[in-house]
Amino acid sequence: MKRDTPFTLLTNGTALSWADVPEWPLAEFLRNVGAELGRGERLSSFFGVPEGDALRLVAVLAFDAGNTLAVGRSQSFSGSFPALTATHAQAHLFEREIWEQHGVVPENHPWLKPVRKDHGAGPAVGDFFRVDGREIHEVAVGPVHAGIIEPGHFRFQCAGEEVLHLEIALGFQHRGVEEAIAGGPHRATVYQMETVAGDTTIGHATAYANALEALAGTEAPLRAQWLRAIALELERLANHTGDLGALAGDVAFLPTASACGKIRGDFLNLTALLCGNRFGRGLVRPGGCLLDGDTERLSQLRKRLETALAEVQQAAAWLWDAASVRTRFEHTGHLHAKQAAAIGLVGPAARACGLVRDVRFDHPTGWHRFAQVPVSVWPDGDVFARARVRWLEIQRSGDFLREQLDAVPEGETMSSLPALAPNSLAVALVEGWRGEVCHVALTGADGKLRRYKITDPSFHNWTGLALALRGQAISDFPLCNKSFNLSYCGFDL
């Protein structure tokens, strides 16, 4: 059903020429975007395209109910623009990023702070939000954390053990991925796409491949799309199993923690069986898949998948049976569905608050057009719900893989990629294991990539963690943090 909307609609994984994107003066553009957000639509990407010294804003909206995307742009302007964040919280990080990257000021933005602080001074330097009260003290958990995790700065305002406010300052993992793609695709671009977020290699590489294929007007051969879907589900299985183990480890429940640690290694080895690299590097390329699995390799993969799924079934059973674990998981880090929708959560974090959002279901592309994976949703919005959603996704990904590996499509896996169409825009969404990965590619007149915007699901979800901690005990923070398990390098790019 097509709703009357001033935006141009396009489906996921397709391209349209830059001219077809509707263009309005700045105020009208922002009013239209605000109207769509008011109707409950979701903002997938919102960024600036520099034109000379002026700037043009581009918005990509996801109409989940309508199973379609919508694109719109503003005329070029400079100076400042009225912020959307005042009324729509989900645009707050995008507007801060536009301010930091292009210098245009979002007027009366309630929380205008740098996102990655890449020019000059490092992150976590600015003045943090202070709660005033005699007994308030700050707890600063800095970039270097106690375990083996990525760096991020968490500033808690505590009254004793209770957290009143949490502010998260990231930017430590900033390596300048987007700046490097301009004028691309270069030789190293595809490798950089695979290392935007190491544990979502297949997610980002598939999105990049879809975007370039859309710009080139072709499509990867069916067997390649099948292989990409298989690798994506294997990556989801590995990460969700690792998360269940890590959640058990954070409440010191040793049986599941140790078992899941090993089973995650088994799933990674299955991906390595396909492409030699445990994280699926070197598998997905624009135009198809570099490596293929012959029947003997696929049957071996099918057999080892069976044993791994049985083991994770046993490990998860322990977790759900243990009453001491359940008391720790329930009612910790609670997030209401209304809050989740307002800040635009995606992926398991959103589905754990009861929101039905899954790119494989709402905007199917590639092999997901032919094979359906049911959406795993859980209503409560606390750590228990996020763990249960992960467990449901493990089971459903397992079923999907069994079903697909029993019916292997024929055909070769690699096709050559023609030149990219000039002056055209492509949007590619992929349901990475953390949520919706969104790549938007815009080519210039010479067919080279003029602007390439990557939005990792963590970019939407970090505010969710900050909200979930309000009123919790500070000793529950590691558990809540691990229940979201967001990517720092995906946010920092």
């Binding site: 083996i148 995790i149 993992q173 030789r187 290392t195 396909l274 030699g276 690299n277 049976d321 390098c489």
Partner: protein, 265 residues
């Protein structure tokens, strides 16, 4: 989850830790390829196919000298292996790649077809850390894959704890620093402060292509192309990400805990 069926299940499964290094090393995935081998003899001077195809400019052809492949910058994409007409660069399926000096990673000269493996620490440090090495991990940009593979070493299959190697919470308790990622400018201060917080004697391990020379993001102005510019590095473990077996081999080689099974060179 009653006590009964935990114990029962445990007895049934027995110990799942691998025998390595006492027993044989677990096999690398067959398509992994392991370390690269460069035979300068086979490489004819005129062709430079591999130089143009390498994404991180790891291969260079200094005038008059045979091809030089820097394994530290290599992200093991094996493009050069497929494109080389005379098979001068081949994959050796060998997981052992850890070295002590940065220049040992540059292959190509005669006698340097393969990586010169790391010697153990000197007598004093080995006596100190031989059976109890506590490491503090610092992730300084990078893609979190090296952290994931270091974490895997802690699981029951690899069980790093049995060698007395442990990752600790505070640098005060640590003897060594394990750095991953190309050390972004935003993480420079944190890395320096962590290094200062370590009590002497201390060692530094650069894990992965990013920490050695910048990995896939080599040359970006936002980072320092690896840790060697900021802190003295004692052990380089190449790979993107290095296979857990390579990391474990590097650590044990450093502490001379490999026994006679396959200590080479």
């Amino acid at each position: 989850m009653s006590v009964h069926d935990t114990l029962l299940n445990r007895l049934k499964r027995g110990c799942e830790t691998m025998a390595y290094p006492k027993g044989p090393a677990p096999a690398l995935p067959d398509r992994h390829g392991g370390a690269l081998k460069v035979e300068a003899a086979k490489c004819d001077a005129s062709c430079s196919a591999c130089v143009t195809v390498c994404p991180t400019e790891a291969i260079a052809r200094p005038a008059g000298k045979p091809v030089a492949l820097d394994l530290g910058r290599c992200i093991f994409c094996a493009e050069c292996v497929t494109v080389c007409p005379t098979k001068a660069i081949t994959q050796s399926n060998d997981h052992r790649m850890a070295v002590r000096q940065r220049e040992d990673l540059v292959l190509g000269d005669t006698g340097k077809e393969q990586v010169r493996l790391a010697q153990a620490l000197d007598e004093k440090l080995r006596r100190l850390f031989g059976r109890s090495l506590k490491l503090r991990q610092v992730s300084a940009a990078g893609c979190n894959a090296c952290e994931a593979d270091t974490n895997v070493l802690g699981t029951i299959g690899w069980d790093l704890g049995r060698f007395g190697i442990q990752f600790v919470a505070s640098p005060r308790h640590a003897d060594g620093l394990l750095i991953t990622g190309p050390v972004s400018k935003n993480m420079e201060l944190a890395l320096k402060k962590t290094y200062i917080a370590l009590p002497e004697p201390r060692i530094v391990i650069a894990l992965g292509a990013c920490a050695i020379a910048g990995g896939p993001f080599i040359g970006h102005p936002q980072h320092h192309n690896g840790a060697s510019g900021l802190v003295p590095v004692d052990l380089f473990i190449p790979g993107c990400p290095p296979h857990p077996l390579t990391i474990l081999d590097g650590l044990l080689r450093l502490l001379d805990r490999l026994g006679e099974s396959d200590a080479r060179r």
